[in-house]
């Protein structure tokens, strides 16, 4: 499937639940250039799982790379990066599903029943952003030690961020 067809299909199936959508292009190469395309789709929280299911229907062995994200004000925005058409020379492109979660409702359903390879990333999202992944088969921490303080989320920029754990080099020990 081509990027335009994937986006059209998603828009048809999810309708108004797609809040924003764009296809980005970037040309790169030596003497010949390859135009790398990527789809960025923002979906509502309620339609997130349906969007993943639709992608999995379009590409049965979809490749899931990772969950990235950031926190801005009262919103934690997560990006789920999927890839289409891998193993086809020059045809691969990325689909990024963006979902914005208000701090008052930091939870999202697991996608491990659709993409088992997402487990590590979901565990990481839980501990780094404090987003509760509902139905995650293994909710333990993965990259943070069990002794790391509870309620500190290293990828947040608010009062729960890691700033207070950082000791300034010019501050003497008490």
């Amino acid at each position: 499937m081509k990027p335009d067809a994937v986006l059209k299909d998603l828009q048809k199936k999810l309708g108004a639940n797609i809040l924003e959508a764009r296809i980005a292009e970037h040309a790169e190469g030596g003497k010949k250039k390859h135009v790398a395309k990527s789809i960025w789709v923002k979906v509502g929280k309620s339609a997130f799982k349906d969007a993943v299911a639709e992608l999995c229907k379009m590409h049965p062995n979809i490749y899931f790379a990772v969950i990235s994200g950031c926190q801005e004000g009262d919103i934690v925005e997560l990006n789920y990066h999927f890839s289409f058409n891998y193993a086809e020379p020059g045809e691969e492109f990325f689909v990024t599903l963006k979902v914005a979660l208000p701090k008052s409702g930091l939870s999202l359903p697991t996608i491990t029943n659709l993409v088992p390879g997402a487990l590590i990333s979901e565990r990481e999202t839980q501990e780094m952003f404090g987003v509760r992944i509902e139905g995650i088969p293994d909710p333990r921490r993965i990259f943070l030690d069990d002794g790391f303080p509870q309620g500190v989320f290293p990828w947040r920029r608010d009062e729960t961020g890691p700033q207070k754990l950082v000791k300034k080099i010019n501050e003497a020990d008490e």
Partner: protein, 404 residues
């Protein structure tokens, strides 16, 4: 399928009323076992510091007799908060930080970050720089695969092969030193190009290195693929089926050895790979059939050394003339990046698999968000199906076979 691919949960580890004992990191204890009450299974903890492991991770195995029944992995010993540090630095400073994410694939992480930033700021990299990037990345691949071949031989108890492969690796390290000034940390990619040119006088040295690896390739094949002891220790061991590799989103030689033909250089060509037509190597091309075991992973990596040698030779012979960076003064690059807004993905094929960097810039000096995915991150879950039903003696080579 829910839960099928999970590592064993804590409560499962503790069933039969067992208590897992710590290995006593650094005390030199190899393994600590505690007998199950009323059962025949044991739990063995290996790590976080253990002679068979190269990085601080802890592997817990549920063992019945000599067989592994289940495995668990704890990675929390080495979280350094690099992404958080990066969001307090400007993109030029991050290059040095990204270079230190992984000692061996330092070009890959820096280059991925550069590609993400270049796509956000719409920076066009000169073709000569793309060729130099490709040559450096492929020299790194040869270095990494030769290092891994030695580690694999060592894990099998075949130290003479380890010494041979590591001695052969010196050639590429010396060449990297001549080209970049350093043996390992190369400091080559920068935003919009590379930091050093390859002058004409160095081309001969690169071609000589390539010729050396081509000349010893037959010997390496004999030692690693035609040796009955290595075959007996690796054939049918640590099998990852194709459907498992696909479901668990495995990458790099781990996925290719299971028959998944994915390689970023082929699927989404970048740098000079657009001119090369690189194709993913699976055991089918090398051996004629796919088993998805440790032997296949050795065969794929070995074939990739030869493939890298061909790529380097082609690039050196066809390198275009021109600039090596779009803007030489870092201060001007930073001024341009300060106005850049948006999100970008930078990815490429590192020796271990796909490296993925996500960068979000909001017009400030430092990126607002930076996410790094190293290849082992994607291959971790694959350890579980590989380890199930394995013998205790095969644990080190299976763990090493994903090149963690």
């Amino acid at each position: 399928m829910k839960g099928q691919w999970c590592f064993m949960a804590e409560k499962e580890t503790m069933r039969h009323g067992k208590q897992r004992l710590d290995t006593g990191a650094g005390r030199g204890d190899e393994e600590t076992m505690q007998h199950a009450k009323g059962g025949t299974s044991f739990t063995i903890s290996i790590g976080p510091v253990h002679p068979a492991l190269k990085e601080p991770i802890q592997l817990d195995f549920e063992i019945e007799g000599e067989k592994v029944k289940n495995a668990d992995l704890r990675l929390s010993q080495a979280h350094r908060g690099i992404e958080w540090i990066g969001t307090n630095r400007n993109p030029i400073q991050i290059l040095y930080l990204a270079e230190r994410i992984c000692g061996i694939c330092n070009v890959c992480h820096t280059l991925s970050f550069c590609r993400a930033v270049e796509s956000i700021a719409n920076i066009e990299v000169p073709p000569r720089a793309q060729y130099i990037r490709t040559v450096t990345a492929e020299l790194e691949r040869i270095h990494s695969h030769m290092l891994w071949a030695g580690v694999a031989a060592h894990e099998l108890g075949f130290d003479s092969v380890m010494h041979y492969t590591w001695r052969a690796r010196e050639k590429v390290l010396d060449t990297i030193e001549i080209l970049t000034g350093n043996r390992v940390t190369k400091g080559m990619p920068t935003i919009g190009g590379v930091r050093r040119d390859f002058p004409e006088k160095h081309h001969k040295r690169i071609l000589e290195t390539v010729g050396f690896y081509k000349s010893i390739f037959g010997k390496l094949q004999d030692m690693l693929l035609h040796d009955p002891v290595i075959e007996a220790r690796t054939r049918g061991i640590g099998v990852l089926k194709k459907e498992e590799a696909l479901a668990l989103c495995a990458v790099g030689p781990t996925a290719r050895a299971s028959g998944v033909k994915r390689d970023v250089r082929q699927d989404e060509p970048y740098a000079a790979y657009c001119d090369l037509g690189v194709r993913a190597i699976t055991p089918k091309e090398v051996l004629g059939e796919v088993h998805g075991d440790v032997f296949d992973r050795i065969a794929v990596r070995l074939a990739e050394v030869a493939q890298s040698a061909d790529i380097i030779e082609h690039c050196v012979r066809n390198i275009p003339e021109g600039k090596i960076v779009f803007e030489e003064k870092p201060i001007k690059v930073l001024a341009q990046l300060r106005g850049a807004q948006g999100e970008g993905i930078g990815r490429l094929e590192a020796p271990r698999g796909e490296v993925f960097h996500y960068v979000k810039m909001t017009g400030q000096e430092a990126p607002y968000a930076w996410k790094v995915k190293a290849p082992t991150y994607s291959n971790l879950l694959s350890i579980l199906p590989m380890m199930r039903e394995a013998q205790i003696a095969d644990i080190p080579i299976i763990a090493a076979s994903i090149d963690p």
